[in-house]
Amino acid sequence: MNPLNPPVLEVRNLSVAYGKVEALTRANLRVGEGQIVTVIGPNGAGKSTMLSAIIGLLRSHGQVCFDGRVAVSPEVERMVDGGMSLVPEKRELFGEMSVEDNLLLGAFHRYRSGERNYREPMAQVFALFPRLQERRRQRAATLSGGERQMLAIGRALMGKPRLLMLDEPSLGLAPLITREIFRIVADLRSTGVSILLVEQNARAALAVADYAYVLETGSVVMEGPAARLRHDPRVLDTYLGLGGKHQDMLAS
């Protein structure tokens, strides 16, 4: 079990079933304050399912402890209000709206609770992603794949989350852009936000993370500090492959 700090998020015995098929079985996971934690594993292992269940998009069994509250099958709105933010695999942007409006809506839950200042977080997002500032009047649907991912992350950051969950941020992106996204993820650590990162690109994920879990067919089969897992022979064989010098370079 991930030992560090007081945990921001603690998941106990989380199970999700699609009908009779169990997609996630009694998973346990912790994310500490300011940590980057990654969940790696092959396609279909239940990684995205896990994130959806944690934020409440899917019904689940087991406990999700976040923001000092213990929830069973949590409600999305509550989790978002508590400071959890999910950047889903499909990005789920508002395509027909401008980049700026997409970002504004990221601050919606803070606006509703009376915190109307959006300029400062927007300036921070633009500092992180200058490309978005150039395109702020453009419709989100007209952005390139990498820019969409930047917008999705920027939108999530507008809500000033305590826990940012990223679902396959590198999916479908060119290697150079993947590298940039991971650089930014590593940079976010300095802002104090905790990150739960789900990735198929295990090499890149293990390079930025502090702690890692390996998920296979719905169960956590291995866990440990990311630095150790990077050199664990089982992980090396299964997920990192041999002779991945090129990948290593891109992930650095």
């Binding site: 934020i55 998009l57 999305v76 709105e77 978002v80 209000d81 933010s85 999910l86 889903p88 499909k90 789920e92 942007l93 508002f94 395509g95 027909e96 709206m97 409006d101 504004l104 809506l105 990221g106 919606f108 839950h109 606006y111 509703r112 989100a140 649907a141 939108r155 809500g159």
Partner: protein
């Protein structure tokens, strides 16, 4: 037909077109946010007009009892859920909106004699009675099946429509009513005579359309509603719950419908079932906009209004048929120009 008659008919068509435009906008809004084809939209028109007429006759409108009944039903459902979750604030809000508010309204109305009140106040009371029924209907009929297919939602709409029309007959009887004119004046503009009533209708429609535009373009809640229409899951992840979006949408739709009823009540005799036909014409207009485009729907409404008034001059027996036939060429044209739906937003 000379020019003068054409102008007169055109004037009439534009006025009814303005009403259809309001209803079309409400239908597009409801469909975009909740995917429901909102057949009961017209019922708010009838309820609004007849509630105002009842107030003017000095009686308590029976829509009040519907408000109380629906409120109680919502309280039972939401209240039980709130108690189970030990959510005191939600319980208080439910009780306040669904029990206390209707009760206060009944008491206020019994204390006042509504027939003597100024017209503006009567209209406000009408809105206060009928509009909150919208979100209650959402809670009772649509929220439990919010994730169902468009077809299921359509069936629910038909059911709600039948129930509301039936209740309308029970509440108001089979007799139609008219209300006092909103503004009893007329002006000569060139060859035309423009009545105060027409000015009221056009001004109110224009103001409402501008208001809706500003709401959707400039306010964060308006943007959040648009975002829900574009991507429900995305909006949910921003903390904007689809339940809240649904209630807000139904509130707006009920407001638009009730106001339309108030606007037409002085010039048309409104019966308990008049709303359906008016709503259906709004629907034809909304179809012109593909149930998606607000400006096209408004333009479609003007066409429907003009077509209707010219049709009633030339072939009054067929005027409804002519208006509804418009849907066929529109659908053909749309099917030629539609390229399917872009899945990834």
């Amino acid at each position: 037909m000379d020019l003068q008659i054409a102008l007169l008919i055109g004037q009439d068509g534009v006025t009814s077109g303005a009403i259809y435009a309001l209803l079309a906008l409400a239908l597009v809004l409801v469909f975009a946010v909740t995917r429901a084809i909102y057949i009961p939209q017209g019922e708010y028109v009838a309820y609004g007009a007849l509630t105002l007429a009842t107030l003017q006759s000095g009686a308590l409108p029976a829509t009040l009892w519907l408000l109380m009944g629906a409120g109680l039903a919502v309280t039972v459902i939401d209240g039980v859920a709130a108690i189970r979750k030990r959510d005191g604030r939600a319980w208080g809000a439910t009780l306040g909106w669904n029990v206390a508010y209707p009760a206060v309204l009944v008491l206020t109305l019994s204390a006042l004699s509504p027939a003597q009140l100024p017209m503006a106040l009567q209209i406000l009371l009408t809105l206060a009675i009928v509009v909150p029924i919208g979100p209650m209907i959402y809670r009772l009929a649509y929220q439990p099946v919010a994730e169902a297919s468009v077809l299921v939602l359509l069936i629910v709409s038909v059911a709600v429509h039948v129930v509301l029309v039936g209740l309308g007959l029970l509440f108001f009887g089979a007799e139609g009513s008219r209300t006092a004119p909103l503004w009893d004046a007329s002006f000569a503009v060139g060859w035309m005579t423009v009545s105060g009533q027409q000015i009221c209708v056009l001004a109110a429609s224009a103001a409402l359309i501008v208001g809706l535009y500003l709401f959707f373009e400039k306010t964060l809640y308006g943007k959040a509603l648009r975002a829900t229409a574009i991507n429900r899951n995305g909006a949910r992840l921003m903390g904007f719950s689809p339940v809240f979006a649904g209630r807000l949408t139904f509130l707006l739709a009920a407001f638009i419908g009730t106001l339309s009823g108030v606007l037409i009540a002085p010039v048309t005799t409104v019966y308990y079932d008049t709303g359906f036909l008016i709503g259906l014409k709004g629907f034809v207009a909304a179809i012109v906009g593909g149930l998606a485009s607000y400006p096209l729907a408004a333009a479609g409404a003007l066409i429907v209004g003009l077509l209707e008034s010219f049709a009633s001059f030339w072939a009054s027996a067929y005027k409804e048929a002519i208006v509804f036939t418009l849907i066929i060429p529109v659908l053909m044209w749309r099917s030629l120009h539609s390229h399917g739906i872009d899945e990834e937003a």
